[in-house]
């Protein structure tokens, strides 16, 4: 029979919309509105998983996000497999396949269950004690084995096929939780038009009102009040309702992170809609109406499938029209289970209730139930359960005021609803750094003084009566004090830790933390072994450390520790709650930042031309730069050789647009640069350029580049590609905070100007026909000069500079014109064999001339003198950024690493960049490292391999043979000057 445990009537499910899903390969019928847990129970499925450590059969414990047992793998199709989902949270949807985890070979027959028999040797801290030695075994052997044996789900192997997005939002009041308190808060807060966001993790708002069939509010059925409240809120334009949305993180200054499940409940995932949305809400005021979690009772074998929380039994019956059993025993230490028992009876089930409390303590509950024909056993404890893969009976015994346990009897049943009282969900309050306060009257930690603009309301602060919850929520939402009339709720419970038993406590498994398989015995052992701080007990036993964060177990664990130590609970304290409140997918955190949107991919104006001409690209920071331009059949080595030859022999063209550029304007511009750079600027004439080096205050090279003086009060500064942003920030910092008196303004023009480098003996021949208003003759436009004019009819700042050692120009044009200008140069250059070259050839060409690259020859510990640029320092300057640090004794030591050339004895050996250098390869290990190779290339111009290196006392080692590590050993190499080609630098003047 389909859905054998579905009740014939009632519930909030839509019987007109049947669904079909699969569980462990078997078809399961359900209705729209079911959770997967409800669907499984409706089909009589009790056993849904194996426990973490002992592989004990487990069923569904709760009905919400506190579920510790029913963790399932959910398969929605290729790329849409997601492990560790709580069956109580996942909505039933047509076509999804769910499967249980943590068993082998099958759920019914799990070999791992042998751990349950071995449990006497698997106590708390077992892993710590057993797998300590040898240490190297931990990562390689023990941990993988433990993970395999006691794992959660399996991580998917395919890329996630779903889309995820982010959304920032602001509001006056964010209400977390849409139960009675949350609804009242949202109504009050939105009354005057203020922006309100109401979020609830459930598909429907209402909280307990969704399953409380008998309560009335202000004279109307509670369900009607709920519908009316929602209609009011939905009609208000200033209210945003977010169902299926869990607030999982409460951060500084009322910044709340929430995940909205947008797609999973739909039968078909469409391509347009994201699966989940991360909301980041900044709220002026936050109302936490997050409700409370019911506590399980701690007794022997309290984890058999079919034993669940009492309120959850009620929810399955009333909300989902599912009978979790036909004969249900409620076991309780408090009043709320009486309502559940009454509802179960009303649904036609056979019901018995056992209360640990004496009859006199129980209030009107027993009489109410007996009037309905329910057997009530006050003053009884639970000492065990029977059954294996499903509960078949609850073993109870009378207990007197002194804890003396009487004779046992077994109550046959196929379902148990247990209630050990309630724990306010203070997780978000605690995350907000609010201090918790222990309330003895309700045996719970409740929100104390808030640390942010926050109010907790309703059950989240231990107010359990419906009318009081509504009034509390209303007040938290900012409403003027008002009363609500509502049916009194059955509240109150006797705090119990482990239930009294006649058994040897050492021999029974009474679970405290179901997900991590922590028993009362484990907690006792931890305390006995000296772990008294609750934080230590938590880590030693792992209680509360599973993905459910101990929502159902924290108070029991705390209470046990307090009881054993005979201290009041507040002295034991509570652990700190940390985000996320419930597990969050990586997809949600990542959002759109995947693939092409992971990081901005910055492309220069000539990128498309380069791509069309066969360029291979490399990433330089966020930039994608043309690396080399291989012709068909060429490898990179051949392409780079050809590109270098073209520059040395005729003309090459290169996209240097990514260079950072800063326009420095103002009367004091020269003085400003004078203070920022190590060299002198005051006397640089307009129309001239100078190479500059700047330091940080610590004396180490920070950046370099050519600076042109366009006018007395205007400089065009260039920086390295990677340094563009940080150099501007560095300059702004000094300008604003140290020298605000200087009349200087800085503007980034990195992307205003594209830069086309035209380099080689024929550069002028290519350029000349396209330029107007600039005399290119060597005498009137020498090396290190700058001119303005037009090229191809558009404005240019034309630099005569060279990073290759050849006659060269860097043609700055407004970026959108770069493509046209480049193509004109390309056309003009054809007769000279103009060759596009990439960053690799650029690196080789500059290394042949011994020009440094910041970040390659320097690493933040290199001074100007270290790289042979000490002569640039304007000694006459009283001060510049970093000058004082250069006078530190360590900066003057003769054994500092200095830039030298390295020529391997084998001329065709290209040393590895980063390779270490030693004087004697036969010295004992650890060897004395002298330095490392910073740049290394094959040089066609030199007919051999060349390298630059930083070597301790390097300049005093000219001609010495040192030894450089290689993948197979050491290679001898001779120290040489760090210039390999055109040592006098004459070619640039051609």
């Amino acid at each position: 029979m389909a859905q054998p445990c579905r009740l014939p009537a009632g519930g909030r499910i839509d019987r007109a919309k049947p669904l079909r899903l699969r569980f462990n390969g078997r078809d399961i019928e359900a209705y729209a509105g079911d959770s997967v847990a409800a669907a499984l129970l409706a089909n009589g499925v009790r056993l849904v998983g194996r426990s973490f450590k002992y592989h004990r059969p487990r069923g569904i414990l709760s009905h919400g996000s506190d579920e510790p047992n029913a963790l399932l793998q959910v398969d929605r199709g290729p790329g849409r497999i997601d492990p560790n989902n709580r069956a109580t949270v996942v909505e039933a949807a047509d076509g999804i396949a769910v499967s249980s985890q943590n068993h082998w070979p099958s759920l019914e027959h799990d070999l791992g269950a042998v751990n349950d028999l071995l449990s006497p040797v698997l106590p708390a801290g077992f892993y710590y004690k057993t797998f300590m030695w040898p240490q190297s075994f931990w990562q390689r052997v023990y941990e993988p084995k433990i993970r395999a044996a006691a794992g959660l789900g399996v991580a998917p192997h395919e890329a996630d096929a779903d889309r995820y997005v982010h959304r920032h939002a602001h509001c006056a009041v964010l209400v977390v939780g849409g139960g009675p308190a949350g609804l009242a808060a949202a109504l009050a807060a939105s009354d005057d038009g203020a922006r309100v966001i109401l979020a609830d993790e459930q598909p429907e708002f209402g909280g307990t009102l969704l399953h409380d069939l008998h309560a009335t509010i202000d004279g109307a059925p509670a369900g009607d009040w709920r519908a009316q409240a929602l209609a009011t809120l939905a009609a208000r334009a200033n209210v945003t309702l977010l169902p299926r949305t869990t607030a999982f993180g409460y951060y500084n200054h009322n910044h709340i992170a929430l995940v909205e499940r947008v797609g999973d409940h739909r039968a078909r995932q469409d391509d347009r809609r994201p699966r989940e949305r991360l909301w980041q809400v900044r709220a002026r005021q936050v109302v936490l109406a997050t409700g409370a979690h019911e506590r399980p009772l701690v007794f022997a074998d309290n984890d058999r499938p079919g034993i669940m929380l009492a309120e959850s039994v009620r929810v399955f019956i009333n909300r989902y029209a599912v009978a979790p059993g036909r004969r249900i025993v409620f076991a309780t230490s408090g009043a709320s289970a009486y309502a559940a028992a009454a509802d179960a009876k009303a649904a036609g089930l056979d019901v018995t209730l056992v209360d640990i409390r004496a009859e006199a303590e129980c209030g009107p509950g027993p009489a109410m139930l007996r009037a309905r024909g329910i057997d009530v056993l006050p003053a009884h404890t639970i000492v065990g359960s029977t059954g294996r893969k499903a509960v078949t009976g609850l073993i109870v015994a009378p207990v007197d005021a002194n804890g003396i346990v009487g004779p046992r009897r077994t109550l046959a049943c196929d379902g148990v609803g247990m209630s050990g009282g309630w724990t306010p969900a203070v997780h978000l309050f605690s995350q907000s750094r609010g201090k918790l306060r222990y309330d003895d009257a309700i045996d719970a930690f409740v929100p104390g003084t808030p640390a942010q603009a926050e109010r907790s309301a309703g059950a989240a602060r231990g107010i359990y009566d419906l009318a009081a919850c509504l009034a509390d929520g209303w007040a938290a939402g900012g409403g003027a004090a008002r009363d609500f009339a509502a049916t009194p709720s059955p509240t109150g419970f006797r705090p119990v830790r482990a239930l009294p038993t006649d058994a040897d406590a050492k021999r029974v498994k009474a679970f405290v933390d179901f997900q991590n398989d922590v028993t009362a015995k484990d907690i006792a052992l931890a305390v006995r072994e000296g772990f008294e701080s609750v934080e230590h007990v938590k880590r030693y036993t792992t209680t509360g450390m599973a993905t459910d964060q101990g929502k159902t177990s924290n108070m029991a664990a705390l209470g046990l520790v307090a009881e054993i130590l005979d201290r009041p609970v507040p002295q034991v304290g509570t652990t700190t709650f940390r985000p996320p409140y419930t597990p969050v997918t990586f997809g949600t955190i990542v959002g759109s930042a995947r693939g092409a949107l992971f990081d901005p991919i910055r492309v220069a104006p000539l990128h498309d031309w380069a791509a069309a001409h066969g360029a291979r690209f490399e990433n330089v920071g966020l930039w994608r730069r043309a690396w080399h331009f291989p012709r068909p059949g060429e490898d990179m080595h051949a392409a780079v050789r050809r590109e270098c030859r073209a520059v040395r022999e005729s003309v090459g063209i290169f996209d240097a647009s990514t260079l950072g550029k800063i326009e420095v304007v103002g009367r004091d511009a020269a003085e400003f640069l004078h203070r920022i750079y190590i060299n002198a600027w005051l006397k640089l004439e307009p129309g001239r350029c100078r190479y500059g080096v700047m330091l940080k205050e610590d004396g180490f090279i920070f950046d370099d580049g050519v600076v042109a003086r366009m006018a007395p009060d205007r400089f065009h500064v260039t920086t390295t590609t990677g340094g563009a942003a940080r150099v501007l920030a560095h300059m702004e910092d000094y300008l604003q905070t140290e020298w605000p008196d200087l009349e200087v303004f800085l503007t980034s023009v990195s992307e205003q100007w594209a830069v086309i480098a035209l380099q080689g003996p024929r550069a002028r021949d290519v350029l000349a026909p396209l330029v107007e208003g600039i005399d290119l003759a060597a005498a009137s436009f020498p090396h290190m000069a700058v001119r303005t004019g037009t090229i191809c009819g558009v404005p240019t700042r034309l630099f005569r500079v060279s990073f290759t050692g050849e006659l060269g120009y860097e043609i700055n044009v407004p970026a959108d014109y770069a493509r046209a200008v480049w193509e004109a140069l390309w056309a003009r250059g054809q007769e000279f064999g103009i060759t596009p070259y990439g960053t690799e050839a650029m690196h080789v060409l500059r290394a042949e001339r011994g020009f440094i690259i910041v970040g390659q020859e320097t690493d933040g510990t290199v001074t100007p003198d270290d790289v042979g640029l000490g002569g640039m320092i304007a000694r006459a300057k009283a001060d510049f950024v970093g000058k004082r640090s250069l006078a530190r004794p360590d900066m003057l030591k003769p054994d500092r690493k200095q830039l030298v050339g390295l020529l391997a004895d084998a001329p065709d050996l290209v040393l590895e960049e980063g390779a270490q250098i030693v004087a004697d390869p036969h010295q004992p290990i650890p060897m004395t490292m002298l330095g490392h190779v910073t740049s290394s290339y094959w040089s066609d111009a030199c007919g051999r391999a060349i390298a630059l290196a930083l070597v301790s006392g390097g300049r005093a080692r000219m001609g010495q043979t040192l030894h450089v590590t290689t993948p197979t050993g050491f290679a001898p190499a001779r120290v040489a000057a760090p210039v390999f080609f055109d040592p006098k630098g004459e070619r640039v003047h051609g």
Partner: protein, 191 residues
């Protein structure tokens, strides 16, 4: 000699905005743009320059004649905006108006790219990457500010009452900014 002036090749092909659509994300045509820097006190003293108002509150913009607009992005920083053809005139007029003062006028017409975001879901799409409150009370017509969209810095403007936002970013970030807006906007496209 150059036969004719080189053509522009914008990084994003401009397209027409459709403000009536649920969401419209459209790169705009090239424009004249300048970064103007001027000490706060000078701006207060002169009030405006070459028709550009300068003394508005920080993070506010003001429209001027002939489709021009000045947006104050900081105490001493303005983004001047106008039609592409007005570039030289703007430069000349502002230079003349501020002659003798300490100021910097820098052409950034090719540095920045603009994308118009319009439609009923414009705010939701921009808030897919931008952390600012774009509600009318917090970001009324005439607002203009530098901020972030995902991992890119942008200038966000709402020039007037029309529910059209203009996002300016640096040229090389434009494909990312457009891509992020379109990715977030997919949910609303055709809705």
């Amino acid at each position: 000699m150059a036969e004719q002036a080189a053509r522009r090749t914008p990084i994003l092909a401009p397209s027409a905005a459709r403000p009536e659509a649920a969401i419209s994300i459209a790169p705009m045509v090239p424009a004249a743009r300048f970064a103007l820097r001027l000490p706060e006190a000078a701006a207060k003293a002169i009030g405006s320059a070459a028709g550009f108002r300068l003394d508005m509150a920080i993070n506010r913009s003001a429209a001027a004649r002939d489709g021009r607009l000045a947006a104050r992005l900081g105490p001493d920083e303005w983004l001047l905006h106008g039609p592409e053809t007005a570039s030289e005139a703007i430069a000349r007029d502002v230079e003349a108006a501020l002659a003798g003062r300490h100021f910097a006028l820098v052409d950034i017409g090719h540095r920045n790219v603009a994308i118009a975001v319009a439609g009923a879901h414009a705010r939701a799409v921009i808030n897919g990457g931008c952390p600012l409150d774009l509600d009318d009370d917090a970001f009324p017509p005439g607002s203009a500010t530098r901020t972030l969209l995902g991992k890119a810095e942008i200038v966000l403007l709402r020039p007037d009452e029309a529910p059209v936002f203009r996002i300016e970013c640096w040229r090389s970030f434009a494909p990312y900014v457009l891509g992020l807006l379109e990715e977030v906007g997919r949910e609303f496209a055709g809705a």
